[in-house]
């Protein structure tokens, strides 16, 4: 974990701010946060930091504790252990609990939760002092692109407009931190994709620091600066989206982010021998004879029809295409080995092969993530 964090910081520094050596101040820090509900540990020793202006996605399957984490930060739940700092001020810790109204946070929920008895201006201005309210409301209405709709009531707005009002309402008091709880999941797919981009732009324009909870991996990867993957109350990895996809720290993250082929093999001479070739074992912990799994994304696997090979392949390396899944620009082929293992290979739609074709598969990459077997329990979906 530590290794990942350090590596990430290097990446961040080189990627986004090559000329600025001083990092932005911390907007949020949680320290060994724990929350239990009865016997269930919903949040288990979560430590994370969020820099001012950063956009952190918290990604995980339902029930992984991500919403509880959000509610702890907001102050709707009290942690059983650990602490929270917002803008350098301790808001939760031993014998200290600042109520939500004292935390300087903004919140946007899945259901837009607009006050039904107030119009758009009333909703946006709800958190503002009376003085200067109108000016600020006008600014925000313009920022979220709803000029002219100030007098509308919430039920007269479309789903996307409602979410934009909810966002403006959260932004209005200029909070230290904005929290999103699956804000787009109640919208239909097209609108969701469009709104995602818009919200990202609005938040950037406002310079807001954002913690964003979602179970939708494409959403998290698309709009986050960094993504934290959670499972069973713990953070498995915090990285940039690229890092997360290319170098997941374990098989759970590998399987949860993107489509993953995990190919078993045995280590020999520092290399893992698999059905589709040999790969550098990487970590020195892997001695000869150890078993490990290699992560290959479908697009990293290339297929060669057996009939086009100059020499006959090893029989155990021959795979049969059992199913094709058409995805538009590319086609996924499900390949089955003689031993019954199924792997997926993607090709461009123009280079597709027919079901029943016998192929061998290989990957050009040599350095791919390798996970020792027996060392960790099999990843749960």
């Amino acid at each position: 974990m530590t290794a990942t964090l350090e590596r990430h910081e290097v990446t961040m520094a080189t990627m986004t701010e090559p000329a600025a050596p001083a990092p932005a101040p911390l907007a949020l820090r949680t320290l060994s946060l724990v929350k239990r509900f009865g016997d269930v540990v919903a949040v288990d020793d979560v430590t994370l930091e969020l820099r001012s202006g950063e956009f952190l996605g918290v990604l995980g399957p339902s029930g992984c504790g991500k919403t509880t984490l959000l509610r702890l930060v907001a102050g709707f739940e009290r942690p059983d252990a650990g602490g929270i700092e917002i803008d350098g001020r301790v808001v939760a810790g031993p014998r200290r609990h600042v109520p939500p109204e004292g935390r300087r946070i903004g919140m946007v929920f899945q259901e837009s939760a607009l006050f039904p008895h107030l119009d758009v201006a009333g909703n946006i201005g709800f958190g503002l002092p009376r003085r200067g309210r109108e000016t600020r409301v006008a600014e925000l209405v313009a920022l979220v692109g709803l000029a002219g709709l100030q007098q509308r009531m919430p039920h007269e707005l479309s789903g996307g407009q409602q979410q934009r009002v909810a966002l403006a309402r959260a932004l209005a008091p200029d909070p230290a931190l904005i929290l999103f709880d699956e804000p787009f999941s109640s919208l239909d797919a097209t609108l969701r994709a469009q709104l995602r981009g818009e919200v990202r732009d609005i938040l950037r324009a406002a310079g807001a620091t954002t913690l964003f909870v979602t179970h939708d991996q494409s959403e998290a990867l698309e709009i986050s600066d960094r993504v934290a993957v959670m499972r069973a109350g713990r953070i498995e990895q915090i990285s940039t989206p690229d890092e997360l996809y290319l170098r997941p720290v374990n098989r759970f993250v590998a399987g949860f982010v993107g489509e993953a082929n995990l190919l078993p093999g045995e280590v020999r001479d520092g290399e893992v021998q698999t059905l589709v070739g040999r790969f550098r074992a990487g970590t020195d912990a892997l001695a000869d004879g150890a078993r490990a799994e290699v992560l290959l994304r479908p697009e990293q696997l290339h297929m060669l029809p057996v009939e086009k090979l100059s020499s006959p392949p090893r029989p155990e390396a021959v795979l049969t295409i059992v199913r094709r899944v058409f995805h538009g620009s590319e086609v996924h082929h499900v390949l089955r080995s003689a031993s019954g293992l199924e792997i997926e290979a993607a090709t461009a739609s123009s280079a597709t092969l027919a079901v029943g074709t016998e192929v061998i598969a290989h990957a050009r990459a040599r350095e791919v993530p390798v996970y020792p077997l027996d060392a960790e329990p099999p990843g749960a979906g």
Partner: protein, 536 residues
Amino acid sequence: MVSLASLRAARTRPGARTPAPPAWLVGAGVIVALLGVLPIGYLVILAGSSEDAASLVLRDRTLGVLGRTLLLATIVTTASVLIGVPVAWLTARSDLPGRRAWTILTLVPLVVPSYVGGYAVVATFGPRGALQTLLEPLGVDRLPDLYGLPGAALALTLFSFPYVVLSVRGTLLRLDPAFEEVSRSLGRGPWRTFLTVTLPQLRPAITSGALLVALYSLADFGAVSLLQFDSFTRAIYVQYRSSFDPTLAAVLALMLVTCTAGVLITEARLRGRGRYHRSGGGASRPAAVVALGRWRWPALGFLAVVVSLAVLVPVGTIGFWLVRGLNAGETFAPVWGAALNSVAASGLAAVLAVLASIPVAVLAVRHRGFVGTLVERGSYAGFALPGIVIGLALVFVAARYLPWVYQTLPLLLVAYLIRFVPEAVGVTRASLLQVSPRLEEVARTLGRSPGSVLREVTLPIIRPGLVAGGALVFLTAMKELPTTILLAPTGFDTLAVRIWSATSEGFFARAAPPALLMMLVAAASLWFVLRQERGR
């Protein structure tokens, strides 16, 4: 009915988030809950302090009252099912002409107060009643005696069978027609299908309606007292009036409460197990209408008899005696004062009950947990207590500890509060459930304390619900008889008391004007109930 459903839903869910409620909210809720359990608590203490309480229970006279009460409840319940189920089926599933009108007409009796029903029965079929007056020229000078069991059973059945109609009709309309269609496709005829497929699915609804009728007949005071049938409520009243020793009245009241609690518990259990019988998802499809064919005329005849007895008789009686009374020099003048009293007391009761319902509902919905559940249960205690029991308990409490509030308006209002808070909590709770907790959380993040969230967000949003709850309490309180008789300040006549006392003394014409006003109130409540049903 609302309250029963909420009672079940109030069970705490394991793992539910229960943020600690603010102290002032808990304080307010606890006061309301304590008021709710005060009457029963005091009666228990009273009965317990007497050494011969146990022997009082087993006395012949007491057992006789118990037997009569149960007999009356059984007869009324059975008769209500026998009338209610066919009425429900005819109005929900058959091609009967004028179904909509019949539906409303068969629900009207539901909102006629039992003492108006009792008045109608006595003033029509009783000695010197309208029927006899009309038949006298034909030489009929005696009608069969109506007082006692037959009259009480008739009056209660006529004005409580709609509970069965309401519950069975609702289920019939929701029932998945697929079950019946499958049965028909497997070769069973319409009758066998009804008996073997439809009726078993109706059983929970019939039971639920029947238990409400049983509850109604156990708790009723108006009809049994006017028809002089010695069931618990009347026996309690007579005992209270005739003796200074409160013990026997307390024992009788506790026995009655045991009966009603038994009915309520059975009802809640059965409800908990009830399920919606739909075979799959998707929008509901209404069942096909059954053609009555040559059965149409008997069916119409049946409904006509039911509606004439339950609707035409009260309306006709009031009209008949009103005309006679006005001709004989009776005027509306004395009624206005009583009407004003009724409106004032009921209006205050409505405001109080709604205010009191807010902390209870907020605790129950937003802070589910030990305290929230306890407070909600406590406030529902009034629901299991017949009005006569609440009235009696408060009379005793006031007479012993607070003589200066006895027979004052505030004490009457406390009684109304205890009696009607469950109704208000039901409505407030239902509207609160419609408000997403996210709204309140957003308001918190925008800098509001829990108190100002309640004031600025929650209450404004549920205001229509609060108004509706208040209106419901107002209409019910207008009709309340037994607590008013026991607790009203001297000279504080309400419409209900006027109708009841005039009828008990045989002044049918004097009872007609207030009864007319009461029927208008009843009509307003029916309109209200129907509007709420549609809103659901």
